[in-house]
Amino acid sequence: MEQFIAVVRILLLLSLIICAVATALSKRVMQALIIFTCYSLIMSVLWLLLRSPDLAITEAAVGAGVDGVLFFLTLRKLHLIDKDEEEAIPEEEEGVKDEN
């Protein structure tokens, strides 16, 4: 059992690194955001293996829930959901101008 948990832990840590690298390398911001949410979810399982269930609850609610929603809302507010990271200067958007 100990061996099995150690293998699971190493697999989770590896996927954590893969998720972090994918977040850094993905061209679209929306893609990076979705991978980042998966990253938080893996992290919350890892907290459980580190015998800290309160951290797992908090990370699952905060990192995977609220943080992702805030990033998503920002992207939607800036009309950048389906745009590349290197998008230079978008047209002046209606929604953004309205709010000024």
Partner: protein, 123 residues
């Protein structure tokens, strides 16, 4: 070798380095904020793995009877990280709000363009 024995701390350090690289290299402000969040989680993972001891239990003691400290993991790092996770959300919310304001003013998220528009006389 100690490096492979401390694999959890090693991953935490690698995550911190990835987050720092993202923070430094990415031109996009939102990607920068994600990098800062990854740095945060790296630090949290490091702290929590310092408190973990193999084969010991969550620090929730029985209501009665003698309590042996040797049966439970170290609880101080998890107390520190618990508050840190919630604060990291408020930090990223504040930074996102600042990003929205920057975008409203300069219509771009690229830091170089913002610099040019702010100091190059362009508006």
């Amino acid at each position: 070798m100690n490096l492979l024995h401390n694999y959890e701390e090693l991953v935490a350090m690698i995550l911190f380095a990835i987050g720092f690289t993202m923070l430094v290299f990415s031109r996009n402000l939102i990607k920068k904020i994600m990098g800062l969040n990854i740095m945060d989680t790296g630090v949290f993972l490091f702290l929590a793995s310092m408190g973990y001891v193999a084969g010991k239990e969550t620090p929730i003691v029985p209501p009665t009877g003698q309590v042996e400290a040797g049966d439970y993991i170290n609880l101080i790092p998890s107390g520190l990280v618990l508050t840190g996770i919630v604060v990291s959300v408020s930090v990223s919310a504040l930074m996102l709000a600042l990003t929205v304001q920057l975008y409203k003013r300069y219509h771009t998220l690229n830091l170089d363009e913002i610099y040019l528009k702010a100091y190059g006389g362009e508006k």
